[in-house]
């Protein structure tokens, strides 16, 4: 996946940067990129995109007029695909933003464009206590037969979502809700763009789940967080409005064992991903 996008100006000054995955070595990475940009000024890339390996990452770079463009991607990524994306980005920038950048003006709309091009992988984490229906929700989304027994998840189960839901790849992290696994939650939601907190809509469970909201806001403050009021078919269920009030989150109703909820749920997730991106941009 593309972990960072950088555009540097003539003096090696950063015109635009965006990181999709936090890394510990961020400061040194930026410094490295600036040095690299200076170095690149002395060689002629002839409009080609090249790359070099750096620890686990691979840095792709291209130059056009006075600008240097860089992607930090994974070594495992398909280099051709990333090079195509680089061409797309360079073209879009040179066509619509180069003049603005030269005049030191804001690059209105460039950020959206970058997301459109660079976001190839979205992590959605599903969090909630044991037996509330997280794994069932995952099966529903993937259009699989829905098991009716509770087979507790161990640790985390990671699955891709079908392409129809979004043009980005979505990986769902279905976390184990049993309390012994709570030591893993903070680690497992790291870098999630969307977190779905699932409750079984009983008062007791919803009250307990407030703790999860706090955990998520602490660990991934930039993520879009939504609530799910599951098991609406049961007589004890609180309304989604009530659940949402208690959690302090936009909350949606669900009966995860009922296939007719699938399309609605897909819409909700699609929107959450888009809103997540929009919110991440606000200063």
């Amino acid at each position: 996946m593309i972990r960072g996008v950088y555009v540097l100006g003539e003096q090696g000054n950063m015109i635009y940067s965006k990181e999709y995955a936090k890394s510990d070595s961020k400061a040194s990475m930026v410094e490295f990129l600036v040095n690299l940009a200076h170095f690149l000024k002395t060689v002629d890339l002839e409009e080609k995109t090249e790359y070099m390996n750096a620890a686990i990452a691979r840095i792709f770079y291209a130059q056009r007029s006075t600008f240097t463009f860089m992607f930090v991607a994974d070594k495992a990524d398909d280099a051709n695909q990333i090079e195509d994306k680089m061409s797309e980005l360079v073209e879009s920038f040179m066509r619509d933003y180069a003049n603005l950048a030269q005049a030191n003006q804001a690059l209105e709309g460039f950020d959206d464009k970058v997301d459109e091009i660079a976001v190839t992988l979205v992590k959605v984490a599903i969090l909630g206590f044991a037996g509330v229906g997280k794994t069932t929700t995952l099966h529903l989304l993937r259009g699989e037969t829905i098991p009716l027994v509770h087979d507790p998840t161990i640790g985390v189960s990671i699955k891709k979502l079908p392409d129809e839901i979004s043009n980005a790849n979505i990986v769902l992290w279905d976390l184990a809700g049993q309390s012994r696994f709570s030591i893993l939650w903070a680690k497992m939601i790291a870098n999630a763009q969307v977190v779905i907190i699932v409750t079984d809509s009983t008062l007791e469970n919803v009250l307990r789940s407030k703790k999860l909201v706090t955990l998520v806001k602490d660990e991934v403050p930039d993520a879009k967080v939504i609530g799910i009021a599951n098991k609406q078919d049961l007589p004890t269920a609180l309304t989604p409005e009530r659940v949402g009030q208690i959690l302090g989150l936009p909350t949606y109703e669900l009966v995860a064992i009922d296939i007719s909820y699938r399309d609605r749920l897909i819409q909700i997730i699609r929107r959450a991903i888009l809103e997540g991106k929009a919110e991440a941009k606000m200063p």
Binding site: A21, G155, L184, K187
Partner: protein, 374 residues
């Protein structure tokens, strides 16, 4: 030392996006499922402090190694039915350490099979590495500074001081002090019934020594480069005026003192396990990459990377024509008797800040540590 080849070994990384990724496995036919990886990881998270952990999962007896230096990585070995984990523990820890250090330097050239066949391990830290840990662990460097000023201090008081310094109420004094205790710089003991005291018994000093052994050996064994070698050293340690050269005896508050800024770098080089291997193999004499690879059991590609890093830190130099590498400076950390605590002790005693038992005990500890002809 007996070569031990576990039934199978695999390396896993928990990636924030892709989840558990098995990076390499031996033998390649080994199959693993998500649940097994999850449980190994979970067992490890539960046992917070251990580097190596043992668990039984789905009829498999698994030893797994992880290190705070490489978060998310694990090296796991499946043990045979008749193997005893406790007997293998130190070997598995050593090879786990080496494997993670290697794979994170250069994934492409890393071969798990090669490492397992050689049975290579990274030994426990040497004494100088233990000392170096102090300077690269910010909380212990901070505590050392405090102890240099206080000499002797109640553990409870030190703990409160540390909490306010780092603005964190959860920090555990013992954990923060571990590098200081492991290297024998401080001792913690109960004096009387209630008060636990921290005593400073050693102080340490990091510097670059001229590589004396290496230059002597070079004169004898590779005389063709001896002259050039001496010029390199002279340029670093005693360049013509007005340049000052490296002089570790300058006082620390002198702006020209190389010690403060360099101390951390020296510590890092000593503490970084692979660089350290290369360093100790070069302490004797200049060598080729192939020699170093042989001595350290590290692949040549890795040795080369490590040498470039050491060159940038002015630890090694290259003799281009001869294709040899030699030490330019020899990073050392040494300990010395902190005699400056004596006046502090008597002052604290006279002001009744400490009991005479505590002062007495401090003197005993200093004598035990430094008494025999050192």
């Amino acid at each position: 030392m007996g070569r031990h080849m576990p039934e199978s070994t695999f390396i896993v990384q928990l990636d924030d996006f892709h989840g558990f990724v098995v990076k390499q496995r031996y033998p390649s036919s080994l199959t693993l499922n998500e649940k097994v990886l999850n449980l190994i990881y979970y067992e490890h998270q539960k046992e917070k402090k251990e580097e190596i952990n043992y668990c039984e999962i789905e009829d498999m007896r698994i030893a797994s190694y992880r290190s705070a230096l490489y978060p998310g990585w694990m090296v796991c070995s499946v043990l045979k039915q008749d193997e005893d984990f406790e007997i293998l523990r130190s070997n598995l820890t050593g090879s786990g350490r080496l494997i993670l250090a290697l794979i994170t330097v250069d994934q492409e050239s890393f071969s798990l099979e090669e490492i397992l066949e050689k049975g290579s391990v990274l030994k426990d830290l040497s004494e100088e590495q233990n000392l170096a840990e102090v300077f690269i662990t910010p909380s212990s460097a901070l505590l050392l500074e405090r102890m240099q000023a206080e000499g002797i201090e109640k553990a409870a008081k030190l703990s409160i001081w540390l909490r306010t310094q780092v603005q964190n109420d959860e920090i555990d004094l013992r954990e923060a002090m571990a590098p200081l205790m492991n290297s024998g710089i401080v001792k913690v003991e109960l004096v009387g019934k209630t008060s636990e005291m921290v005593f400073l018994v050693k102080d340490i000093f990091g510097y670059r020594e001229p590589p004396v052994d290496s230059i002597l050996k070079t004169r004898e064994a590779i005389p063709s480069i001896a002259e050039k070698y001496e010029e390199f050293l002279a340029a670093f340690f005693s360049p013509p005026p007005p340049n000052k050269g490296y002089n570790p005896t300058l006082r620390v508050d002198d702006p020209n003192s190389p010690i403060l800024e360099d101390r951390e770098k020296i510590s890092r080089i000593l503490a970084e396990k692979l660089q350290y291997r290369v360093l100790i193999s070069l302490r004797e004499q200049p060598l080729t990459v192939a020699d170093i690879s042989e001595n350290t059991a590290l692949p040549e590609s890795v040795v080369r990377k490590l040498l470039f890093a050491l060159e940038a830190d002015k630890v090694v130099i290259r003799f281009e024509e001869e294709d040899l590498w030699g030490l330019l400076t020899n990073p050392r950390i040494e300990s010395f008797l902190p005699e400056y605590v004596l006046p502090i002790l008597s002052k604290k005693l006279s002001e009744k800040e400490i009991s005479s038992d505590a002062a007495q005990r401090h003197l005993e500890l200093l004598m035990q540590t430094w008494g025999e002809a050192k």
